[in-house]
Symmetry: C2
Subunit: 396 residues, 2 copies
């Protein structure tokens, strides 16, 4: 039996593909610091669990396909804190940010259509592009320039008759880069000029450091018909296992179409939406300490790593990832070697190899993504062990 | 801004598209019996909620992309009761049966490929086909013959070089028909002869009446490489809002590919999986009373409706739906009229219009799907009100 071409071609997650090797290392008694996956260690808010405990319906029934209205209300209040006015009809609740991305791709593009995206990008865009038959067209960004956008002319060159949208993620996974308001306004101009959608994955909205402010594409004036945002509570409220996200757009036709895709899969999980309502009702200073904690972690990781002058890394302003360029020739081999052949007093570090965050073959081979999702002491130790591993790898 | 062709073409759910009109009727004080949606009124098992309450992890973290191993173990034990031996690697837990269908389509077919399916079929197959670019090729089945399969030669005629699979749903939504072992073995022969996948949606497995036994395609010998089953706990444990399903196959390449699609969307909801484990651990006699209850409901609904000799309806053997052929010319108009212009002492009935369960234009215009998901007294009353509505509709 032959499976489909896309079934053959779909990328294995660079974040998860080494899981088997990691499990083998654990079985040998090696302790692993997991910097490979963006799983925060911040406790999920108590109110999230509590409100689920208080759920008293006898039947766990289907909810509305576009999500519980109470959750939309809570989100609207949350976005009002950022001076982003929204209405219920601008929001469809999705199964995590993941489903928001696949709905977004489906509504803007047909199989064979193109979406432009700065590279490196969130690796799972590849999977959703494969699922929906969309072609991702990368724009080069570099470690040396903090992964900011190239000259707008370079981006314009990528536009073809099949281009349907420009997609950004800001604050960025995997680079941590926050695209500036000026960068985003340039993209908006380009989208207008060529009649494209401007799509942004803004799930790391809160995670901004050094006083930096995130500029949302929802703040752009006169772009109501072409702006689509993908959102999620996974990182915002440390509820990755809840699978609650959203698509947000003020384009009526987009939202009506997305509602139909949403109807086909019936609804998002009811209990997790109940938890999400409580989380969104937390006061905004909930994020204050969390931000400070992440900023400290970022500093520890970056400052420890850049002691090695061969590592190219500009301290990023957001999210909780860094994309570090290392003095190695094959990040896949290196990440595997760290699990299979290296340990420092029974401990090692797991990272996500760079190539999976690129769609251009051969790119990212010197890079690894590291998530600073461990508490400072553990992270500091992990960074030191990582440096030792890197040194030993290059001497082997 | 132009949205995609598929975004324009995706079908509106016939089950949910009249929701606005129904809400308007409710606002006018009309009480509605919802026979339009397969939302059982059976209480979700207490153990489902209880086990979620006892969940004590501080962080609601990502789970494995293929689902919690404990849930797979519980499912394996459950299937053993049906003499269907499974291993963990044969199962990927999905976000409801819905995601199982889209993963299934993605792994067997590329955009433009064809999947043969008896018509009428579960309406949301249309949505997943649109999402993944797959073409559904219908086989005609008729109310007059209880919606059983036509001669196998008729099915063979539909096979083209682009055909990738035959998809059935048994017990069937929307018809309630259980395809016999003989019918399924014929399909299996055909799948072998033309090197196709045989795919079955078996989410109504337990709901069989009059002593009828459901024959699963997982019971077919020598078909390990071409059998794929889509499954769900939504109806089995009355947990529609949990969104927990599964893809099951013994084809290694299929499962490895589906795992990659699963990795792209990270994981199913953790808490609902915890609940599902407890549900799957219930003794098998949990289903006994539920089956008897549904059988009684089926009898009440069918026996009441067939008093009107112009209604074509063979009492089906499974699931909890009937597809009734009515003496009307436009089921959409009729369903709408029942909500907008009819009530019997302030009460009316909502049904799902037939055409949405067909992909052949013009078909199903005389049919409506009714779900017998209300307790017997309410259902009996709903059936009587429905008959009065039908009468009045034809006199108007």
């Amino acid at each position: 039996m032959k499976i489909s071409k896309r079934g053959k071609e779909i990328q294995e997650s660079p974040i998860r593909k080494l899981a088997g090797i990691a499990n083998a290392a654990k079985a040998r008694g090696v302790q692993i610091y997991h910097l490979n996956i963006g799983q925060p260690d911040v406790p999920t808010p108590d109110v999230f669990y509590k409100s689920i405990e208080h759920y008293s319906e006898k039947v766990l029934a289907y909810g509305p396909s576009d999500g519980l209205p109470e959750l939309k209300d809570a989100m609207i209040d949350y976005f009002a804190n950022y001076n982003i006015p929204l209405k219920k009809e601008h929001i469809v609740i999705t199964v995590g940010g993941s489903e928001a991305v696949s709905f977004g791709f489906a509504v803007i593009a047909d199989p064979g259509d193109e979406v432009i995206v700065p590279e490196p990008f969130y690796t799972n865009y590849n999977g959703f592009a494969t699922l929906t038959g969309v072609t991702l067209v990368p724009i080069e960004t570099k470690a040396e320039t903090g992964f900011h956008l190239p000259d707008i002319g370079e981006i314009e060159k990528k536009i073809t008759p099949r281009t349907r949208a420009i997609l950004i993620c800001s604050p960025n996974n995997p680079t941590g880069t926050i695209f500036t308001e000026a960068e985003i306004r340039q993209l908006a101009q380009l989208a207008k000029k060529h009649d494209l959608f401007l799509v942004a994955d803004e799930v790391y909205k809160e995670f901004t450091y050094d006083g930096e402010k995130h500029f949302s594409i929802l703040e752009l004036e006169g772009m109501e018909d072409r702006v689509i945002v993908m959102d999620s509570i996974s990182k915002r409220y440390s509820a990755c296992g809840a699978r609650i996200g959203a698509v947000i757009s003020r384009n009526t036709e987009v939202m009506q179409s997305i509602l139909k895709f949403a109807q086909a899969r019936l609804c998002p999980a009811t209990l997790d939406q109940v938890g999400a309502i409580a989380a969104y009702r937390l006061p905004m200073d909930y994020f204050k300490d969390i931000k400070l904690e992440y900023q400290e972690r970022r500093d520890i990781l970056c400052d420890t790593l850049t002691v090695n002058k061969d590592i190219v890394l500009q301290k990023p302003k957001g999210a909780f990832y860094i994309m570090a360029k290392l003095p190695i020739d094959d990040a896949d081999n290196f990440a595997r070697w760290m699990l299979e052949s290296f340990n420092e007093n029974g401990e090692t570090v797991m990272v996500a190899p760079g190539p999976g965050f690129y769609s251009t073959p051969g790119k990212g081979k010197q890079e690894v993504r590291m998530a600073y999702v461990l508490e400072t002491q553990k992270l500091a130790k992990a960074a030191r062990i990582f440096l030792k591993g890197l040194e030993q790898y290059n001497r082997r």
